[in-house]
């Protein structure tokens, strides 16, 4: 059978830009540029708000701060007040990340490449549900199961101290009850597990079939296939996933507030109580009782948190882009 190609009626006229598609793409371009700009505006507005509200605290002399704010330590500048808080925030988030990332990657790999299909879908759904649990509930769980009487936090801390006590991180007397930064970090880890797992799973599932088959055809076992094709392809995705988790861990308030016994030092002893505090938990703890200058001071610490989170995200972008040439994108 042969068909004669039918020519479009306009002939070469059909090549000209038509009005209609011009309007559509113009609208789309406008919308996307607009929403991009909106994000920048919101970001700038948040930064401006924080800066303006924190200004009185930023410009007051340390002595004034100490006099008018009950909990502001004597002979301390604002910077040396925020310092330990920044330290505690980063340390807690780092603990959470170190615990959560390997577990999340393992679960994500299991769901994407090991579990039977039906089971995998159900498991993925369950993990997503974990993300829907309010953080107060995680806090309660942490207090009950890890910290409380006969909580499993104490024995875990004791074992870590006995076995790894020579590392400064695990030195110091383990807290009883276990209101330490380590336990708070553990709860944070559970909280950020779902988001890291979900993102990592999506990335792993997108590994091109072609690359998986390439490694299998070379005689790779399933694990070798994962190492050759899946993990390299998913690396930047896992970094982004971890950074999303980190963002959540940095700002998480309730769980830390409920578990951690606070302190304002630069202590690396994560098993001890009363050594560290996070910015978010500190704001929540002090805000109800704070006078105007106290609120300004707390907002100044919030500004520090904002900057940290931005920096973490930019660092993540940089890490991802550094190996973009070798990523699966091209």
């Amino acid at each position: 059978m042969t068909t004669t190609p039918t020519r479009s009626p306009q002939g070469a006229e059909g090549l000209r830009r038509s009005r209609r598609s011009g309007v559509g793409s113009g609208l789309f371009a406008g919308l996307s540029v607009g929403s991009g700009a909106l994000i920048l505006v919101v970001l700038a507005a948040v930064a401006a708000f924080l800066l303006i509200q924190a200004w009185p605290a930023l410009t007051s002399a340390p002595a004034t701060l100490h006099e008018s704010i009950a909990w502001f330590p004597d002979k301390t500048s604002l910077v040396s007040f925020v310092g330990p808080l920044v330290f505690g925030t980063l340390l807690a988030a780092a603990i959470a990340l170190v615990i959560a990332t390997p577990i999340a990657v393992g679960i994500a790999l299991f769901i994407s490449h090991y579990a039977p299909r039906r089971f995998a879908a159900g498991l993925g759904y369950l993990i997503d549900l974990l993300a829907a649990i309010p953080s107060v509930v995680y806090g309660l769980w942490g207090v009950r199961v890890l910290v409380g009487q006969n909580g499993i936090g104490q024995p875990i801390q004791q074992v870590l101290h006995d076995v790894l006590g020579f590392i400064p991180l695990f030195a110091g007397t383990p807290a009883r009850p276990a209101r330490s930064l380590f336990i708070a970090g553990m709860v944070l880890a559970v909280m950020i597990l779902p988001i890291i797992t979900a993102v990592a799973r999506e990335v792993f599932l997108q590994t091109p079939r072609l690359h998986e088959e390439a490694s299998l055809a070379l005689g790779a076992t399933r694990w070798e296939m994962i190492r050759m094709a899946v993990l390299p392809f998913g690396r930047s995705g896992v970094v982004s996933a971890a950074m999303l988790g980190l963002g959540r861990a940095l700002g998480e308030t309730m769980a830390v507030l409920m578990i951690l016994s606070p302190g304002f030092t630069y202590s690396w002893h994560i098993l001890e109580a009363g050594k560290q505090q996070t910015i978010a938990a500190n704001i929540a703890a002090q805000f109800p009782e704070a006078n105007p200058l106290g609120v300004n001071t707390l907002i100044a610490t919030g500004l520090a948190l904002f900057v940290i989170t931005l920096a973490v995200n930019m660092l993540a972008r940089w890490i991802v882009s550094r190996r973009a040439e070798f990523s699966g994108a091209n």
Binding site: R117, P208, L210, H211, E212, E213, A214, S215, L216, A217, L218, G219, A220, T221, E224, M228, A229, P232, F233, R235, R323, E325, F326, S327, G328, A329, N330
Partner: protein
């Protein structure tokens, strides 16, 4: 050492869909065998059963037997991973690992088998394999660049280099030249001629001239209609197949007449 492949009464399924039915054929060692046939008749599917790559697709399975030098590939004590290490494969679409450099790509399969390899041995193997795949001159100055930075034809030759670097006994090639220009195609055909002294080669191709040029045997597959399984119509010496095939369908296909 090249090896013979014997296929007997093979039925190939995707789930409940019978894609290829009732294939029996013998592929001699140290020779080139070409598979030809219309699109969708199951050439790729059949080829992938020869190194147990078919079963990596969920729900895919086979009935019947495939044996290499008398060892049945599908018996329960045979490890599919070991099978794939000895029977290399080049895919229809080039698939170098984008996260690895050109040199790492060539060594990918070798590293699976033995991790420890001296730097100079590795460099020698990279050069030898890339030369074998007729790619060395084009990439020798940028071996540490990603494999995905090459053109499509270069990527395909990189995949061939990767497959021959492990010195498989049998090399399966699924339309290796479909993305290549005539010069690269000729280079790969020359390569196939060189390789057949050591390897058993099976090549799927849509190009009749290519089948006629490179192969000693040709197998013609056909399909009666959509939803029907593909079947092996006939297999014979390439010269016989292209001059006086015994089946009319074969003659029609080869001479470009259909239906």
């Amino acid at each position: 050492m090249a090896q013979r492949i014997d296929v007997k009464d093979l039925n190939i399924y995707y789930g409940s869909f019978l894609a290829v039915a009732d294939v029996t054929m013998n592929i001699p060692a140290r020779s080139v065998t070409a598979f030809i046939g219309p699109s969708g008749c199951g050439k790729s599917t059949f080829l992938r059963t020869l190194n147990r790559m078919h079963e990596v697709i969920p729900g895919a399975r086979v009935e019947g037997s495939v044996s290499v030098e008398g060892v049945s590939l599908y018996s329960s004590d045979v490890d599919p991973v070991a099978v794939r290490r000895q029977i290399g494969m080049v895919f229809q679409r080039p698939n170098p690992f984008p996260t690895m450099s050109i040199a790492e790509n060539v060594l990918a399969g070798v590293r699976l088998n033995n991790r420890r390899m001296s730097r100079s041995d590795a460099a020698d193997l990279v050069e030898e394999s890339l030369t074998g795949a007729n790619l060395w001159n084009e990439v020798k100055d940028r071996l540490d660049k990603p494999g995905s930075s090459l053109s499509g034809g270069q990527q395909q030759r990189l995949c061939i280099a990767r497959a021959i670097a492990v010195r498989p006994q049998i090399l399966l090639m699924d339309e290796p030249c479909s993305a290549l220009d005539p010069i690269s195609t000729l280079a790969i055909e020359d390569l196939i001629q060189d390789l057949k002294d050591e390897y058993t080669i099976v090549i799927v191709t849509h190009n009749m001239q290519q089948a006629a040029r490179v192969s000693e045997q040709t197998a013609f597959f056909n399909i009666e209609g959509t939803g029907k399984p593909g079947r092996l119509i006939e297999m014979d010496d390439t010269r016989v197949m292209f001059s006086s095939p015994s089946r009319k369908e074969t003659e029609d296909y080869i001479s470009g007449r259909f239906g």
